[in-house]
Amino acid sequence: MSYSYSTDVNVTDVEGDASKRSQVHAVGFAKNTKVQEERSSSYDLAYGKSDPEEPPMKLVPRGVRGPAVPSQSQGARDFSRRVLQKATESASELVAASDPVAKANAGFDLLETLEALWALRQLREPDWGDLVNILQTVLSATDLEALSAAQCTAVKRVICDELAGVPMDGEEMSRALDILHSAGFDPWVGISGDPSGQE
């Protein structure tokens, strides 16, 4: 007899109560035996069985309303994957570029691809769109010809490991900001400026 967790699970994150921190509240166990399914034609499982095609799922702390991510059609998912693939290739070209002009051209290609990713932001979780925004802003504010090797590598890492990785939340965003900052980018450049009229 086999059982699977329902997909609708919550993790109780109680500050200061480690014993409850990872307590998983399954809404219910769904019995996936053939016997159960054959019991009645009108009986259906409350939740779908594990699907190897499904992307990895993250548990969301209870109390945080999940991001409003519309379900994607297969076509949208395929398109999203292709654009991410293109972004990965552009980032690789950026890393491989040996002179300032080649670097700038690869950078402009990447910015165009990031614009296409930006157009897909509503299909993805908030942190994913937030990171596309930051990456676009950071690269737009930089002289592409002057990108260092470390910066090109950092851009590639952010795209390959974070944007094209598992569904993003604060952890991936934090890592991405750290990668950008460590490479000498200023992730906050979009909202930075010296106060005027003071001294």
């Binding site: 109390g63 945080v64 309303r65 991001p67 908030p126 769109g129 937030d130 925004n133 930051i134 802003t137 737009s140 504010a141 604060g170 965003m173 934090s174 900001l177 750290d178 900052h181 200023d186 992730p187 906050w188 450049v189 979009g190 909202i191 930075s192 400026g193 010296d194 106060p195 005027s196 009229g197 003071q198 001294e199």
Partner: protein
């Protein structure tokens, strides 16, 4: 750990995130002269209250007006001139970077930036600070910003020490440092009346009250009312105090025999180094 340490005041921590590139470069150059960077629990709390509080304010305005341009106008028209000038988060730069973007797009980009600042700001603070002193044990050391609903609702925690309950360690800190506080009170009392700013007068009154009754410390809301005093006390023992706001700090630095380094707001100006007073 050994080496020369520098204490980073709230103004420096905020500037490291949202001031212009030249200011950031100068701060980075200054810090590179030291082996250890230190900050404290009250600095972290002020960083959250001031910078992230402003991010939340702007995000709420964007949600209300649904227009980047209208919020820019609103901030200029509604906030008192002094306050508008001192506004820390600069939105103008988005206009420059995303030249030609529509108001709708700028609104969304701005909302996303502000959300990132709200959810990641304290991570950035922690990552960029070598050591955070527990000091007075401010509740701000452990309390973060809780996102209730992305782009909409955020719980920043209470600003009041009196509502922090047992997490706040200010009473215990005052008890443990009573002797030093007495000496500081005498130092402040001996200052010329003309030198005493309102905050210094408040600090004097606060010290008098807590020396009489240490239990009253949290009820007096010290983080809100005498933040500079608490930060100075937390920085005790660190030889260099780096700040953009020398007004009150200079008096505390003199007392604590610290070298004070002032970063002017104008990025073209060099840091001003005030000598320490060890020999005076």
């Amino acid at each position: 750990m050994t080496g020369k340490a520098v204490f980073l005041d709230t103004s420096i921590q905020i500037a490291q995130v949202i001031h212009g590139p030249e200011t950031k470069r100068r701060i980075s150059d200054r810090i590179s002269n030291y082996d250890i960077t230190v900050s404290s629990s009250v600095v972290r709390q002020e960083f959250k209250r001031r910078l992230l509080g402003e991010a939340l304010y702007l995000l709420r305005q964007l949600n209300k007006h649904q227009s980047f341009a209208r919020v820019m106008r609103h901030v200029t028209d509604i906030l008192p001139p002094q306050n508008a000038r001192k506004k820390q988060i600069c939105l103008d730069i988005l206009l420059t970077i995303h030249e030609g973007a529509s108001d709708v797009e700028l609104t969304e980009r701005c909302r996303r930036y502000l959300r990132t600042l709200l959810t990641q700001g304290l991570n950035t603070f922690d990552a960029e600070t070598g050591h955070i002193l527990r000091g007075v044990g401010c509740a701000g050391l452990t309390c973060g910003v809780v996102e209730k609903s992305p782009y909409e609702r955020y719980d920043m925690g209470s600003k009041l020490c009196s509502k922090a309950g047992s997490i706040c360690g200010v009473v215990q800190f005052m008890r443990q440092n009573a002797d030093a506080l007495r000496v500081l009170l005498r130092h402040l009392q001996a200052m010329e009346g003309s030198e005493k700013t309102i905050e210094i007068q408040r600090a004097e009154q606060f010290l008098q009250n807590v020396l009489d009754d240490p239990e009253s410390a949290s009820k007096l809301e010290p983080c809100l009312k005498v933040g500079d005093l608490l930060i100075a006390l937390e920085s005790r023992g660190i030889p260099v105090f780096y700040t953009m706001n020398p007004k009150e700090s200079k008096h505390f630095c003199r007392f604590l025999k610290q070298e004070m380094v002032v970063r002017p707001v104008n990025p073209e100006l060099e840091d001003q180094v005030e000598p320490n007073y060890t020999d005076s």
